[in-house]
């Protein structure tokens, strides 16, 4: 073969080589996904914890940049029926003062609003305004024990999730009851939902009914996490 020329056959062989690499991906490697994820997760989680600046505020956007239709509603089951007039948020676990708060109690706490970018694990993002009480203020009312390191959230639809404490008491982590300046729609998690710029969407439970501080993570760490999603989910 003359080294200067490239026959059509060789070109096919070359492009075949390129395609083969991609094909190899699908041949049996998928079953190792969870093992690969489990192997790297301690490192990635450590990096995420190091990157998190507990007091630094995430970028907020002007109200004009809100795109109401960009926020897609993702729920894993039906919308639960919660009567906001009788609803009580439970805060318990590793606290000195377990609480049950009505919506009126929560409305009395300072209202914080923020226009932030909500990022979904699926790859889309939406600029959205949330308004509500800082989770930090709610947790402070319950007087957390200094052994508490995690916060576990239960939702009215059976969804469950858990967070690291520093992210939960970040100044932009809210239990929101407003969206884009209006009362929070039921589809978006009314009466109360988690809203924070520092976590992926699946960490932001809707219809939150119970906030439990914990010293250790339970075995069931979250609905999606138990199926393979990364636990920390930081942005």
């Amino acid at each position: 073969m003359h080294p200067q020329s490239l026959s059509r056959r060789q070109l096919f062989q070359l492009s075949g080589f390129a395609g083969m690499g991609l094909l190899l991906d699908s041949c049996g490697l998928n079953e190792y996904s969870t093992a690969v994820g489990n192997a790297i997760d301690p490192l990635n989680q450590r990096v995420e914890e190091l990157l998190l600046k507990p007091q630094a505020l995430a970028r907020e956007y002007p109200i004009s940049s809100i795109d109401p239709n960009a926020l897609i509603i993702n729920s894993f089951t039906d919308v639960p029926q919660i009567d906001p007039t009788t609803f009580k948020l439970i805060i318990d676990g590793a606290v000195n003062q377990p609480l049950q708060l009505s919506m009126n109690d929560i409305y009395k706490l300072p209202l914080q609003t923020m226009v932030i970018q909500h990022v979904c694990v699926e790859g889309w993002a939406a600029i959205v305004q949330w308004g509500g009480a800082r989770l930090k203020d709610l947790i402070a009312l319950a007087q957390p024990k200094n052994t508490a390191r995690y916060v576990y959230f239960e939702s009215g639809d059976g969804y469950y999730n858990s967070w690291d404490l520093p992210s939960a008491i970040h100044p932009q982590t809210l239990l929101a009851y407003q969206k884009n300046g209006q009362p929070l729609p039921v589809d978006n998690g009314a009466p109360l939902r988690l809203a924070a710029p520092i976590k992926l969407g699946y960490k932001q439970s809707k219809w939150v009914t119970r906030v439990t501080l914990m010293n250790q993570l339970p075995i069931k760490r979250g609905y999606w996490e138990d199926q393979g999603y990364e636990w920390f989910g930081g942005l």
């Binding site: 490239l6 991609l22 990022v119 790859g123 930081g234």
Partner: protein, 197 residues
């Protein structure tokens, strides 16, 4: 007495270079496969109704699996490139083995076809490096858009960032094919073999 025919020297690559090169290829394919899996969860073009890549091109099985691979292999991919960068800097390889002004001169005004092909090849494989760095930078910005907000802000908004990160895939693949083609043209299968065997 007949003068012996001049035989060009057999191309030879250092083992460490073969290693860097091989790891780039393998980790890039794993990054692309898992990246296309993540892409399919919400296609960059057309959102939820957009065209999705077929299963045989994706790695991970589902979104979480794709992310498992992507955020594991990212370490191999980027640290390999980082160590390679340090290596070519310390050995001054960057002065000798990458595109230089003399190559650009040869491309523009050169008459020697062999020299021109050689210069094009150096330009192409040098060009792959900034594309891979762009892939890492845009990927990091998307991975931690809040904690690395300064990086995210370089790319404008989320949609632009996703498009840029995705476009590094076809661009790096085109450069790879050109690199393979020009490698054969310049040094034949012997050059090819020298990089892999």
């Amino acid at each position: 007495m007949a003068t012996p025919k001049k035989i060009p020297p057999i191309p030879h690559q250092k083992i460490i270079i073969k290693l860097f090169h091989g790891i780039i290829i393998i980790s890039l394919f794993l990054m692309i496969g898992s990246g296309l899996q993540i892409y399919n969860a919400t296609p960059v073009f057309g959102d939820k109704e957009g065209w999705q890549f077929p299963d045989f091109m994706t790695l991970g099985g589902w979104l979480a699996g794709g992310r498992d691979w992507h955020f594991a292999i990212m370490w191999v991919f980027s640290f390999n490139l980082l160590i390679y960068g340090i290596y070519i800097f310390l050995t001054k390889r960057w002065q000798r083995r990458f595109v230089a002004s003399s190559d650009l001169q040869a491309i523009k005004v050169g008459q020697n076809h062999k020299r021109k092909a050689y210069a094009w090849h150096r330009l192409i494989y040098t060009g792959i490096i900034p594309i891979l760095i762009l892939a890492i930078a845009s990927g990091l910005a998307m991975y931690k858009p809040v904690q690395l907000a300064w990086l995210m802000s370089l790319f404008g908004n989320w949609k632009t960032l996703r498009i840029i990160h995705f476009m590094t895939v076809p661009i790096s693949l085109v450069f790879t094919v050109l690199h393979m083609f020009m490698g054969l043209k310049v040094g034949g299968l012997r050059l090819w073999r020298s990089m892999f065997v």
